[in-house]
Subunit: 593 residues, 2 copies
């Protein structure tokens, strides 16, 4: 039996609650959670990025999605937690499970910092109907039993120079203040790390893979308050932001909320990102719930960021080509494993200028591991790469001037006819999306089908979205845009947005195929008219697509033209950055077909 | 000055309101509103199907969308109403206009029967922020000045035999009651005419084009109450529904709401269709807001309805071919006008068995009239058809066994190269959607782009959705499914659903092109696997597509195959229903290309 569970249940009884929620997230609703807030991992043992736990006095459940079924099964062994495979047929969400299994009058306790206002509202609706009550417990019960909780990070933050950010803090604040004024609000609160980092042109290292710091911000017509641990702000940063930003200690944020509440002002909040605790703390103020304008401002890259992205992709592409060349030469010699390959790739990236680290944990997946969408290689799962089968590598870098994210799938031996057929269909999808022109107002969900159509023709599909937004030396996943059946709904694609384009095909227990390029929304000057602007995509990622996996006769003449033209560009852009042997190899693998 | 406006403003002052809303709709949120409830048309003179009016003590505005700009301009002349072209750049919605132009503390009055609960909630949010108050005025102020208001309809309702409906009332109630029980509700309220008509297998003639009756329904575990004017229910109907349905007079519905409220039961309502008045009347009850299961039950046609639809489309197709043949022979002789053509088409339909009337007002649009999406021909706009230009006809029939909706665009003379290019691109879109196979869970918005892609290639588009649901001898527009950038969001397409497939292209002041078939969702047995069912479409509509407008070299081999195969089917199915001359004509116009 899990002793932590026993201790937690004792605390639950003390607080007179019948169930306690331990979500994956932190007070800032981060996708990547700082160590000090990984309470769900501490309690359950499950370390995946997504998964909520619900503990009752008798039962304990952990809900995660299909990406993590295998990992969760392994990590939950002996924990006392039952795995709920969220997304499987007949498996209820934890909300539905709670609605069905808690009894009328029972109380579900939760830490109000860890769920958004929107999640709270939905939960209240779902449980309220059955007479189940919700009780905010302001002290986190897991913290009470977490004796060796890591200290919060305290590394100093830095300023991102305007030659990278492309816009001054003053200009960003001006734009935001105009929106705040138009909304008739007195203040706007930001609780997401990347939003705060973008607005103030600061970067940090508090979270793995994301160059951000733990912080809140409150912006008013006259003021911009940045709540961040005092020890993280050096003199240089203070000087750079003088007269524009007032620094407050992170711990002073609750007091500021009380002050705003008692002033009864109109406060603008994004209900999908601010915690229920923030909303509770603002009782008395007038609240406006509406998506933050910062999300859209951040998503639409400026000219400097676009130039940076293009340059960074040349460096990132060179690192990828060096890696792929090394891989082809090294695998036959033996000794290369998933893990060592991932390390080697990071080494190639780290030699590129402006490199700051990987943008997420590299997915280095051989054969059947490729079919595990978010496979995370570890010493326990590591396997050697041989001269057969398919290898999938999804990786990215943080550079001062951009964030990258690229997937390539390569044949290490002679691929089967089926593998070539599937790879070519995935490629057709990627090309269809790359080559589309669309009128202003078009959203990602409208375009998603283009990436799937060639797979659907054979009754095939992939179980994830086709594209996500990506930051500029910021988070590898950002909104509000997206290309998927649902993500990005209602958000028109705008020139300057960067998205991933990553159709895929997975054959369980056998292999995985994914091809991922980043694409930039640009104005289509040929098709645009004054009344009706048209947009298209420009591909940023520069890296060959494995021709050994391409079945030429499945491609249309236009698709072949696209592929040859893309490869010509890759060759032209990257050759100057390669040594002679690498360049010769690149010339061959990018030959016209 | 409009005397009605003066009278209305006097009443507004009396009720101490600063603005009064006159929506297009009726207490049942109908698209087609019975005469007795066309208050907006009475007050403003604008007779289009969509348009809301807002009157303040000083101003009067009418908001309608692009389909009706021209008609509204004409009809509003001298009315004292200003036209707001809703959907144009920089034209605010009436909600935004009210938020900006009414002052803090001012009151907007409205008839709570005429807006849905959802609309009310959004309005409260939009106006509440600016301190503008909303006041339900339970007496309709327009009624007070409408001296010659038509009496409510009183035609008797009829039973739709099970050989047409395919499911007994008992079975429909059983299915609904299982959903109600699963939701933990005590009662479910239906306020939409077609939902009530479907559930009780009744049809009426209270609304133009829609074979429905004015009614409400309340369904509980034991009871099914139908609120409908007593004089509309004859002995036959009573006998047919005995023991299943209890009839109450329409006027007893408010009393039933009070009874439900005081019983404090859990009531299930669709917030997007029930009026704010219903919600207000249920104060005290526990309300569950969730889409009605009846909408989905109705949308998924059963085997009998599908058989009926296929048969009705043979009859409807024969009427269309007779009409198109007649048109080709008659136009050169002269004397054919838009109006006379529409009448002739209705005459051809009316000779078909089981025909009950048109399913909407025929759009018979020659040349530049074709570019007006919802052109409604009238003696004032009528023009003669000549041996030149393009003619667009969008029409449909109500049959006992189905509702039809079809658009064909034909060349009356030699089409231009541009017209042939555009027509072929529209056709490519229609074929792409017709031929797609897609996995279970796919929604209409995901597929919409397929119908637009060939137009986007040239920087062209059309400003409406691609497809709507359609009833079975019911409303020509029904939900919840749809194929458009937004309509149908979240609703997976299911076998049995019928939708329209109607891409288009409009060149303002010149011509309009639209091709519309109805398509049925079916299981794709070739692509389906046990774990992953695939669906596809079967085209129901049978009518030739004008080959004179097809530019063959723009079509792929697959598209040519589709077109030839469709025409072969049209010829085979319809020839037995035609006379010798018509059959010969059909053979020629459906020849393989």
């Amino acid at each position: 039996m899990n002793r932590k569970l026993t201790a937690l249940r004792t605390l639950m009884k003390h607080h007179r609650i019948h169930a306690y929620l331990i979500p994956s997230s932190d007070p800032h609703q981060s996708e990547y959670v700082p160590e000090c807030w990984r309470r769900r991992a501490f309690l359950t043992g499950f370390t995946g990025s997504t998964g909520d736990a619900l503990v009752t006095l008798k039962t304990a459940g952990l809900w995660t999605d299909s990406r993590y079924y295998l990992q969760a099964e392994r990590e939950l062994r002996g924990s006392g937690f039952t795995l709920f495979k969220w997304g499987s047929a007949d498996v209820p969400s934890w909300q539905d499970w709670a609605a069905r299994n808690l009894r009328r009058g029972e109380i579900l306790g939760f830490d109000p910092q860890l769920i958004t206002h929107k999640e709270y509202t939905n939960l209240e609706k779902a449980l309220g109907e059955g007479g189940i009550r919700l009780k905010p417990v302001t002290v986190n019960l897991v913290d009470k039993i977490w004796k060796e909780k890591p200290a919060p990070p305290s590394e100093p933050i830095t300023i991102l120079a305007e030659k990278y950010s492309g816009e001054s803090v003053r200009s960003k604040l001006d734009r935001l203040r105009r929106k705040i004024a138009a909304e008739g609000a007195a203040a706007h609160i930001l609780s997401q790390f990347d939003a705060v980092a973008w607005l103030f042109n600061i970067r940090g290292s508090d979270v793995q893979y994301n160059p951000v710091a733990i912080a809140y911000a409150v912006i008013t017509a006259k003021d911009a308050l940045l709540f961040i641990a005092r020890e993280q702000v050096g003199e240089k940063v203070k000087a750079a932001l003088k007269k524009k930003v007032r620094f407050r200690d992170y711990n002073e944020f609750p007091g500021e909320l009380r002050r705003l509440a008692s002033a009864k002002r109109r406060i603008w909040l994004d209900e999908a990102s601010v915690s229920r605790w923030i909303v509770n703390s603002l009782q008395g103020a007038k609240l406006i719930f509406k998506p933050s304008p910062v999300a859209l401002h951040k998503a639409v890259k400026n000219a400097t960021e676009i130039r940076g992205a293009k340059q960074a992709h040349r460096r990132d592409g060179a690192a990828m080509v060096k890696f792929l060349y090394w891989l082809e030469k090294s695998v036959p010699k033996g000794g290369v494993t998933e893990l060592s390959a991932a390390q080697r790739l990071e080494a190639f990236r780290s030699r590129q200028s402006r490199f700051r680290g990987p943008s997420f944990s590299t997915i280095s997946a051989y054969r059947s591991h490729g079919a595990i969408v978010h496979y995370s290689v570890s010493p326990e799962t590591d396997i050697p790469l041989k001269r057969a089968g398919i290898y999938l590598v999804d990786s990215g870098g943080q550079y001062l001037d951009a964030t990258t994210d690229i997937t390539r799938t390569v044949a290490l031996g002679r691929p089967t006819a089926e593998q070539r057929d599937r790879f070519t269909r995935v490629l057709k999808g990627m090309i269809a999306l790359s080559a589309i022109s669309f009128p202003r107002g078009t959203t990602g969900p409208q375009l998603d089908v283009l990436a799937r159509r060639a797979l659907w023709e054979k009754g095939l599909n992939y179980g994830h979205g086709t594209g996500h937004g990506i930051g500029s030396y910021l988070n590898v996943h950002e909104g509000p845009q997206g290309i998927s059946p649902a993500r990005g709904f209602g958000v028109g694609l705008e020139p300057g947005m960067i998205l991933s384009n990553e159709p895929a095909y997975y054959k369980e227990e056998e292999y995985g195929i994914r091809i991922e390029n980043l694409i930039l929304v640009i104005k289509d000057t040929i098709r645009s008219t004054a009344e009706s602007p048209f947009y298209s995509f420009e591909t940023l990622t520069l890296c060959p697509i494995d021709l050994r996996l391409v079945k030429r006769e499945l491609l249309t003449a236009e698709e072949i033209r696209w592929l040859n033209s893309y490869h010509r560009r890759v060759r032209k852009e990257l050759t100057p950055r390669l040594d002679r042997a690498e360049a010769a190899w690149l010339k061959n693998v990018t030959r016209p077909i």
